[in-house]
């Protein structure tokens, strides 16, 4: 087994036992990136000098006996995370020259624990997409099949795990952007409850939906990463001041007597047969482990995608107004006067999916349309939240597919944005409800493409979905399979 194949907890043991140094681990990871990333395109920016300096610092800490689980571990960050002194593009031309003057909270917390940042990962532009095809820096390819997309928008964060080019990564999830690529790349991806992880220093797409979370090789690593970044932050008014449990310690709780709900609206006609089979097998496994399976109803599911595309785009249309070429980012070379500078800088700087969503959101907020679209969407959102709260009166977790199909081909859905939007139907409601969900590897299609399973938990009960996933992982070992790169 190569160094870059190791999980966080495996690598941590070796670092602690001084079998390996962080510099060696970081060198191995940088070499792996060098060797395979041309094929995958998971990285926008690789930062070898900073990474090696951080690794040296980590080794000093370890030598002094000051070691946290993440000390010396090479991690990658979606390029949506603001990193001091390291270019942060958000997958967009408009920020292609932007070097931030500060670190966001999640990044600062990783650094405090001594994690080594090896680079910034590719993503859909401003996290708008489900396939990583909207990146200004080119599409990411799925390590399991280079003709397929890795999903999106945290496609680079998922592909780097599958390609073994980062031990763990951070992504963000606004409508499924951690869970869906995790599913498509056979890794663990966790979207925590809204408010669990600070959004300070995360470039906003849709502020009321965005949430930071880890993508990892296994469930234990997800627990470690969440434990490191979670918790109240006074810099984010929407972060919630509630205790952060020791997630790793709670992993072995088991599922005996656990009530698992299957939302009838998620097991629909037209679900890909391979996905259906994987779900059936997972349900059977949980039953055999002593869980109680019940059917539940989330009656407003069919409105989720429409609701999401109003709320998310409305917020985005405002969040993206700051990219005006005045203080940072791309400014057109060729403008006469202010109005032209704005129009041209933005026309040149944003890609077509971003423009589409800015226009949708601007329309939804326009006077005369606000009540019919934005206000109504907020009301439906409340109903969707209520659906989940009702379901959680009956069950402890929900089990659903992540995506209706295994990974699709690059270019396959580009011509039809609506079809692309609909592929997020199983992940979007969780963001609207503000609760937590994760994706765990649950098998492969006949064509050998990964299939993920979604576990949805009660608000702030990440612990239960992690331990439920951990029981599954121990029995199935899907996470041990590696992509044929």
């Amino acid at each position: 087994m190569e160094i870059f194949d190791l999980t966080i907890h495996e690598l941590h043991e070796k670092l602690q036992a001084k079998e390996l140094s962080s510099v060696e681990a970081t060198r191995a990871m940088l070499a792996r990136i060098e060797a395979v990333d041309d094929k995958v395109n998971a990285y926008i920016t690789v930062t070898p000098e900073q990474a090696l300096a951080e690794a040296e610092a980590a080794d000093k800490r370890i030598a002094a006996g000051d070691i946290a689980t993440l000390t010396g571990i090479p991690v990658g960050l979606k390029d949506i995370f603001i990193t001091k002194g390291i270019r942060t593009t958000c997958g967009s031309k408009i920020l292609s020259n932007f070097i931030p003057p500060y670190d966001g909270t999640a990044v600062a917390r990783l650094k405090e624990r001594g994690a080594v940042i090896v680079g910034k990962l590719n993503q859909d532009e401003f996290a708008m997409g489900s396939s990583n095809e909207s990146s200004y820096f080119g599409p990411v390819k799925n390590p399991w099949n280079l003709e397929c997309t890795p999903g999106g928008s945290s496609g680079g964060s998922a592909a780097a795990i599958a390609a073994r080019t980062a031990t763990a990564t951070l992504g963000t999830d606004t409508g499924g952007s951690i869970r869906q690529p995790a599913s498509h790349c056979s890794c663990v991806g966790l979207k925590p409850t809204y408010g669990r992880v600070s959004r300070y220093g995360v470039i906003a797409y849709a502020s009321s939906l965005d949430q930071v979370g880890p993508l990892t090789r296994d469930v234990t690593d997800a627990a470690i990463m969440l434990g490191a970044v979670a918790g109240y932050d006074q810099m984010d008014s929407t972060s919630v001041n509630t205790p952060v449990p020791d997630y790793v310690a709670g992993l072995g709780a088991g599922v005996k007597g656990l009530k698992i709900g299957l939302p009838s609206q998620y097991f629909i006609e037209g679900l890909d047969p391979d996905v259906k089979r994987a779900m059936d097998e997972a349900i059977a496994l949980y039953k055999s482990l002593g869980a109680e399976i019940r059917e539940v109803s989330l009656p407003h599911t069919e409105y989720a995608v429409a609701t999401y595309y109003i709320i998310a785009t409305a917020e985005a249309s405002s969040n993206l107004a700051r990219y005006d070429g005045v203080r940072f980012g791309h400014r057109t070379e060729d403008a006469r006067g202010l109005a032209q500078m704005y129009a041209k800088s933005r026309a040149e700087g944003f890609g077509s999916e971003v423009k589409r969503r800015i226009m949708l959101g601007t329309y939804a907020l326009s006077s005369g349309y606000y009540d019919a679209y934005y206000l109504k969407a907020q009301k439906v959102r409340t109903l969707i939240q209520q659906d989940f709260l009702n379901a959680f009166q009956e069950v402890d977790v929900l089990l659903t597919p992540i995506a209706p199909t295994p990974p699709f081909k690059i270019g396959e859905k580009l011509a039809d944005p609506l079809q692309m939007y609909l592929s997020d139907i199983f992940t979007i409601p969780v963001n609207l409800a503000g609760t937590c969900g994760l994706s765990i590897p649950a098998g492969f299609s006949a064509a050998g493409l990964p299939i993920g399973l979604q576990l949805i938990g009660k608000p702030f009960d990440e612990q239960t979905i992690l331990s439920t996933a951990y029981s599954f992982e121990r029995e199935t070992q899907w996470h041990q399979k590696t992509a044929p790169l």
Binding site: Y102, I203, S237, S318, D324, R327
Partner: protein, 478 residues
């Protein structure tokens, strides 16, 4: 045709919090451009606003002082528009749920009290400043974001004012209140207290408002009057010629005293307000409101009434003394040590104010403290010095900051109440002016003042005027 003007005012008051409304940067005026900024107020990607609680407290105080009801559940909204001084491309403000609503202020105009409604007060962040001034080697416009994200209260009145004088009276009253509350420094020139005026005309006797113009960029009380008067003339001229007023925003030009069109209704922004998802609703409890009520100072109206009823001051005195909280405090501090209200009032409105005006100082920098002034008044009361000498002593105190006793002693200004000395001076004066004495005794009693003046001069002002009067009368009338 005769027209009735209808005026509504929107006032932006900049709050005197130490830090900005959504970040920890300083709000100090006049610093090096862009030196008081951070990722939050620069609108950098990933930065998030965190509300300064002090702003909410100040807003509650303003609401209570203007008889508003305080909104329990407060929501911040984004007002979206593009401008280079607006870093995020939206201003964080309040929209449908402002923190204060349904208030009013009473103004006195020509002896009558008029009630001016206050529609709403809301909290918001200020924008930065564009600098077009010549900077060597730079021909572009520059942006200074020091002011961006400083806290403002926007105070919107009902269209209840019916003359420029009423508008001024309302503004002055509001200005006085925010100063008393200590929430705004009230500096019009630095833009801490800015006013937009909505002005329309309707035929006298009508109750249907005409189309209004919104006047911007008015930064002194004088200009407000000028701008409204100009606008009344302009609109009247158009209406007289059978024209129609266009709803528009007009910019006041202080150099010409005129207004010119800035943008019309069709160019008006669609601000696409929506609740800011980065900020959670602020719930204001009854306890919080009561706590704020407890911190309210006595407001000018109440103070004025108290001065008139408890201290028996004339209305004019009371009005002048409550003009600023500091002046009223100076008066009250002096009065505590020398409890003769009218005497203190005369001195504060007279000598003190004159001296301060002469060298442009404010009352809080007055070298003659209330304690020193009270000492001076006591000397006068005891008869140690005359009122006239007291004024000389005051000037000396103002210059040197010395205690009055010391000055009196050093300069030998003690009043002469020795009847023998005074008699001698009187005799000398009468001896020197036999003609006038004869005339006086012949019936020209108006000459009495002349003799008093001569005696006072002879004593270099130190003679006790009451004694001089008494003794002179005796001597002259034999």
């Amino acid at each position: 045709m005769k027209y009735q003007v209808v005026i509504g005012l929107e006032v932006h008051t900049q709050l005197t919090t130490n830090t900005k409304i959504f970040c920890g940067c300083s709000t100090r005026f006049g610093a090096e451009p862009n030196s008081q900024t951070c990722p939050v107020c620069l609108g950098f990607p990933g930065a998030l606003p965190v509300l300064n609680k002090k702003v909410v407290e100040y807003a509650i105080r303003a609401g209570l002082a203007t008889n508003c009801s305080i909104t329990k559940r407060n929501v911040f909204a984004r007002k979206n528009y593009f401008y280079p001084d607006l870093p995020k491309g939206y201003q964080i403000s309040q929209f449908d749920l402002p923190i204060c609503q349904h208030g009013h202020l009473d103004i006195d105009i020509e002896g009558e009290t008029r009630r001016i409604g206050i529609t709403r007060i809301h909290m918001e962040e200020d924008a930065g400043k564009l600098v077009h001034a010549d900077i060597p080697g730079v021909d572009d416009s520059c942006v200074d974001l020091n002011r961006a994200c400083t806290p403002l209260l926007e105070i919107v009145s009902e269209p209840d004012m019916r003359s420029p004088d009423e508008a001024i009276a309302y503004l002055k009253k509001l200005h006085q209140i925010v100063m008393y509350l200590g929430i705004c420094d009230g500096n019009l020139e630095e833009g801490s207290f800015r006013c937009d005026a909505n002005v329309s005309l309707m035929p006298v006797g009508s109750s249907t408002f005409g189309t209004r113009a919104e006047l911007k960029n008015i930064n002194s009380f004088k200009f407000i009057k000028q701008a409204i008067e100009y606008e009344m003339e302009r609109q009247a001229e158009i209406l007289d010629e059978g024209g129609r007023i266009i709803q528009e925003t007009r910019l006041f030009d202080p150099n010409t005293g005129t207004t010119r069109s800035m943008r019309g209704k069709e160019e008006a922004h669609d601000y696409r307000y929506f609740p800011d998802p980065d900020l959670v609703p602020i719930i204001i409890s009854d306890e919080w409101i009561e706590e704020a009520r407890g911190t309210l100072p006595e407001l000018p109206e109440a103070k004025r009434a108290r001065f008139m009823t408890d201290l028996a001051l004339p209305e004019y005195d009371a009005e002048v003394l409550v003009a600023s909280r500091e002046l009223a405090q100076y008066f009250e501090d002096t009065f505590t040590l020398f409890p003769q209200a009218k005497t203190v009032s005369n001195w504060v409105m007279g000598e003190v104010t004159r001296a301060l005006n002469d060298d442009g100082r404010s009352i809080s920098d007055c070298p003659v403290t209330p304690a020193l002034l009270a000492d001076l008044l006591k000397l006068m009361e005891k008869g140690t010095i005359s009122g006239k000498i007291a004024k000389t002593v005051f000037d000396e105190m103002y210059k040197s900051g010395k205690a009055p006793e010391k000055i009196v002693e050093e300069k030998g200004l003690v009043q002469v109440s020795d009847t023998g000395a005074i008699e001698a001076m009187i005799d000398e004066v009468l001896e020197k002016n036999p003609g006038q004495v004869a005339e006086y005794r012949g019936g020209k009693e108006t000459l009495f003042g002349f003799f008093v003046g001569q005696v006072m001069r002879a004593s270099k002002g130190k003679a006790n005027p009451a004694l001089v009067n008494e003794m002179l009368l005796k001597k002259l009338n034999g």
